[in-house]
Symmetry: D2
Subunit: 399 residues, 4 copies
Amino acid sequence: MAGAAYRILAEQLATRGVDVAAVRAALNKQRIETPSWGYADSGTRFRVFRWPGAARTVREKLDDAAVVHRFTGITPSVAIHIPWDRPEDGDYAALRRYAKARGLTIGAVNPNVFQEEEYRLGSLGNPSRAVRAQALTHILACCDIMREVRSPALSLWFADGTNYAGQDDLRSRKRRMREGLQAVYCRLPAGSRMLVEYKFFEPSFYSTDIPDWGTAYALCLALGPRAHVLVDLGHHAPGTNIEQIVAFLLDEGRLGGFHLNNRKYADDDLMAGSVNPFELFLIYHELVAAGAAARHVAYMIDQSHNIEGKIAPMILSVLNCQEAYAKALLVPRRKLAAAQADGDVLRAHALLADAFRTDVRPLLAQVREEMGVPADPLDAYLRSGHEKRLAAERSRGRK
Amino acid sequence: MAGAAYRILAEQLATRGVDVAAVRAALNKQRIETPSWGYADSGTRFRVFRWPGAARTVREKLDDAAVVHRFTGITPSVAIHIPWDRPEDGDYAALRRYAKARGLTIGAVNPNVFQEEEYRLGSLGNPSRAVRAQALTHILACCDIMREVRSPALSLWFADGTNYAGQDDLRSRKRRMREGLQAVYCRLPAGSRMLVEYKFFEPSFYSTDIPDWGTAYALCLALGPRAHVLVDLGHHAPGTNIEQIVAFLLDEGRLGGFHLNNRKYADDDLMAGSVNPFELFLIYHELVAAGAAARHVAYMIDQSHNIEGKIAPMILSVLNCQEAYAKALLVPRRKLAAAQADGDVLRAHALLADAFRTDVRPLLAQVREEMGVPADPLDAYLRSGHEKRLAAERSRGRK
Amino acid sequence: MAGAAYRILAEQLATRGVDVAAVRAALNKQRIETPSWGYADSGTRFRVFRWPGAARTVREKLDDAAVVHRFTGITPSVAIHIPWDRPEDGDYAALRRYAKARGLTIGAVNPNVFQEEEYRLGSLGNPSRAVRAQALTHILACCDIMREVRSPALSLWFADGTNYAGQDDLRSRKRRMREGLQAVYCRLPAGSRMLVEYKFFEPSFYSTDIPDWGTAYALCLALGPRAHVLVDLGHHAPGTNIEQIVAFLLDEGRLGGFHLNNRKYADDDLMAGSVNPFELFLIYHELVAAGAAARHVAYMIDQSHNIEGKIAPMILSVLNCQEAYAKALLVPRRKLAAAQADGDVLRAHALLADAFRTDVRPLLAQVREEMGVPADPLDAYLRSGHEKRLAAERSRGRK
Amino acid sequence: MAGAAYRILAEQLATRGVDVAAVRAALNKQRIETPSWGYADSGTRFRVFRWPGAARTVREKLDDAAVVHRFTGITPSVAIHIPWDRPEDGDYAALRRYAKARGLTIGAVNPNVFQEEEYRLGSLGNPSRAVRAQALTHILACCDIMREVRSPALSLWFADGTNYAGQDDLRSRKRRMREGLQAVYCRLPAGSRMLVEYKFFEPSFYSTDIPDWGTAYALCLALGPRAHVLVDLGHHAPGTNIEQIVAFLLDEGRLGGFHLNNRKYADDDLMAGSVNPFELFLIYHELVAAGAAARHVAYMIDQSHNIEGKIAPMILSVLNCQEAYAKALLVPRRKLAAAQADGDVLRAHALLADAFRTDVRPLLAQVREEMGVPADPLDAYLRSGHEKRLAAERSRGRK
């Protein structure tokens, strides 16, 4: 049945000049990393929301990530957060084997330098030399962990900044941050990359030490070729054209990867593609357009599932990214380039919008069949009863 | 010495046509309420910041509020938050007497209907009838508490809203909210008011049930004459002209009061006047211009002091509001009205800006001397050693 | 061929429980008004863009609107702007007949009270009584024109506001605006409505006299039952949840209509659905959900086509609205309500998003066939050669 | 009399540790450039506002700039816009002499590559090679003009961008812009600088080719050491921390200068310091803090005075910048650095805010007396009757 719908769509696409086999091949290679912290409880500053089946340990998080991979087929790696994901025995090699046994690898390692009392005024940007040293020590320890879990990337986000004008000297903070990052860069494991994330605001409310892609990019230039910018889709001022930032960084060879999510207001950390699916499509359009220049980009989900569950929304986010990518692969690039060269504004826009309009679900169902995963992974998961079983199991251990 | 500076300023002001005695009289009557929760630990969604001297009990919060009043002379009331401020023995009358013994009264009562597990999908707007009933019961209990503590106002803020398009029906939520508020309104203690707060977003990220002043105003119209809108300065979209909202509500007799704070981005809850002092001045300018129409407005601080201490920043916020009010009192209203009537844009703006330019510290020092409080309350507090004593005392009981 | 694709889609929809005949019937009744000014040259503050085939007279504008109606079948009325659309002979009845001969009616009448030198400081809100009277006279003249052209609605947008704090008294402006509108309301032709538009900012940059829906709504309450709020999709602060405003006004019986367009930043006046098609769908979702409560809503395009042509982008905007409406008609309302009642956040959102995902072009092709218009109106228009003919014809008369 | 007020203030400042003589010396050296276009009529996209005394020719603009300099003493140079300021006889050397005779020099030269019909889709970023060449030719001609008028800077702002997703290829536009700028850079007159301006949006509404400081900075790096970033205070997303951008660029040696103005919403082009004077102070605070690193920064007013006159508001903007600079000079930098090093958030902020609180008008009156200009330049100008004389003179020639 999926076959019939697929055949009709494939025919239509072929008529439009789409190389459907190439599209399927590209979709087969798509990979998205899920974050360990997306399986645990999360919240707002007003409260933490308890989800009955939320993961409580790093091994439960890996179990859940394996479920997402089993249903989607395209999420074989998991980002970890240190010290949240420190195994009780401290044995990271064992953790890696635990993941491997579930068909998973460990992805990016994310040092946490914002939760200790000492980081009240920042980590690498802190006015206190002692606190900066403490943060640096932790990040360097994460480099060691990278080796043990065979992680390809150190993913750095800093809560550093100030809440009040005058609280600290902005140039000094800039210099301290660069100095700290240089010390880290020198100790990066061979073959790995450093991803430098920026954020418009929060939890700092006057200035943020790395507030925009320009600052992150300038830092990467100062560090070296293995430092790349990480784009979190929720970390921009309202109205910012994110796909243009993506295009710029790709063209400069400095796009490290994404933290995928969506927002309407600030850093809302909602499911990817849930607020503005057209924007997600436009981002993938730039990635497809860049061709080989995008081959090292890391795609990582980063969300706070406060009220919608854990595993099911992670699946939906992954599917939304898959759909956005599939639609981007359908853009008739030659026709588009011709309309652009002609200055035919309306036709060029309409060509792009038409690709977005296409319902790619039959195509994705076909790709999933080839991968051996359900044609409709979300529906299959929701019907599987897994969510309830997990809730029953895991709520036993909780007050 | 303060006297000399004051005399020069008073002369200059008199020359400009200011009735300095009337200004002093007005400043003597200014009152600002401080919030119990501003003396306790607070944080962001990333972590709670621990302050060594933060209050741990409702009685400690009252003690701290009394300190702020002792140094500023204009903060004799304290807003409370239920259940956070529920006394251990449940004896609210005793709590009121405890406050009274420290020269304080209890101000607005703020029911908390967002921290229980049941409120995951809202309180009065929740799709579940049972949860709505639970929220209503709590708010009605707060009406009883109002009687015991002799509170003049029930201050209502709802975290209610949705995170995703489709999650709930927007019209149904609107109707449930109104229905719930009507039930509360009927039980409001005699002589008291209901303050209805709105918020642009957070902790809901797709829709908020009372997202703007228009919704709060429409609800108040539906409820009755004792329902008024509460304006939190941090609860607007970027760029919103808050002073115009203030002017509108004053003119309609529906401005209930303020939650005073400041922000650069979202609901940052920084010290009042710390980000944009000119805006705070413009708000006070509307209040002064409205004359008697503003006489029932409640001025309440509402801030999260994450990294700057507790009592000292509360004092600074109060001083910033006092300063803004003092400057607004200096506006030459007749000249201003004449320039406005002439359509003399530049002169009208310059007249207003000139009032803001004036350094009113000598005037405030004089007023404070009359009140028997330090001429520079912040400096006096910081030099008093109180902060250190508190930190020593209160950190003993903490891990 | 369109038939085959339609049959497959219709079957799928029927399986999902959609009453396809009802959907088609609804689509047959959809109507969208186009604006006369959308066919003429427009620009930014930096320059006016000249389009070779742009309409130069009101009759040419009507000719162009007739073309859009011929290709789409759902745009039989045209909004006019006075004095821009004043016929040379001043004969409005003749203008109406000219329209009628082209299958058109005249829709909303839009008085222009912002282009005369006198309106430097506003129209109905101006501090000068004489200027207010001049504005009022013009608007009342427009009421007379409404009778002659048989217009159902007076559509009021005011550029009124101030550029600087202190420039004018905000409460006085509020009162003058209400007073002026009351004078207009009394003279509204029998059977017609007054639509009151609001706008966040521009061309006033400190305050706008009707800055938000709350102000427009309060004015409508003060005026009477024939005054309704007009929602221009580009007139909100960034992040504003427009569909919630729509739901609120519908529930209160005060939604007058829309100015349809799209924006990424401010009041960009881009083609409807071109920036965020999901948002447009969510707005139509609220309209469909409201059922009969939405039956008097006026749908009017309001755009500035600076660089993309005139007739073709108007067609595309109409098609985008048609598509958004079609998708909204596919939402499985009973299932959605059940998921919402269960508090099943993920499923409720997914149900709504699935309707958006559907490619409704085969369904619309079928509806258009029934209407006797091209299955793909934009493509048909672009291939028709009409744009070139118009350019040739109309550029002759221009320098 | 000004002397008495000054002496008291000077004493107070000396007590606080301020080197008042050094402050006065710094203020004596402050220079701000005014723009020729600020003396002519301007408007919004809705209409151009006619001001009776607005300048009609480049020579009248220079006359008006000379008036501003006569009253303020710190605006001896004028930025020009080509072709707006092309002399009728094309003799730029004569124009320079005309300026010199009035005590003025010509400042930055601003090429206009957005008003010709050809620039519909951009200038250096246009998809058409011919249009790019046309734009380049004009800019290179401006380099020649720079030599004739002895201008120190080529100031480049591009309206280039797109209105719709898909309209053009974002990476191609980026590359074309860089290529064009490189061609310009090679032809920059000896000893001059290129200033590269960025803008968040408008008149392009989907993407802007140089949308943020990061893009401008990256371009400058690619161009060479004489290319610097120009910061227009109105060209940022809401909430952007501009002073941090200033600090960053200063520290990298890439801050070229400012376009001074103010805004509440978008690029409102209001008088500098009229919306948020604290922000202007914070920007000057960074400039003072940077010391010698800021010595080549160009300070240029860039405003649209739509309704408030021309010369008077220009004077007010200059005075607001002077005041902001004076306050920044009063910041107790050693104490501030100590509080920052101690992590004393509250005290550090309060120290900075206290400098802003100071009424520096007596200090400025003293400085102005030394310069031989009126103690209150705005008041003096308004009383001079110049505005009326100009209106009478210049309105004669107008319809």
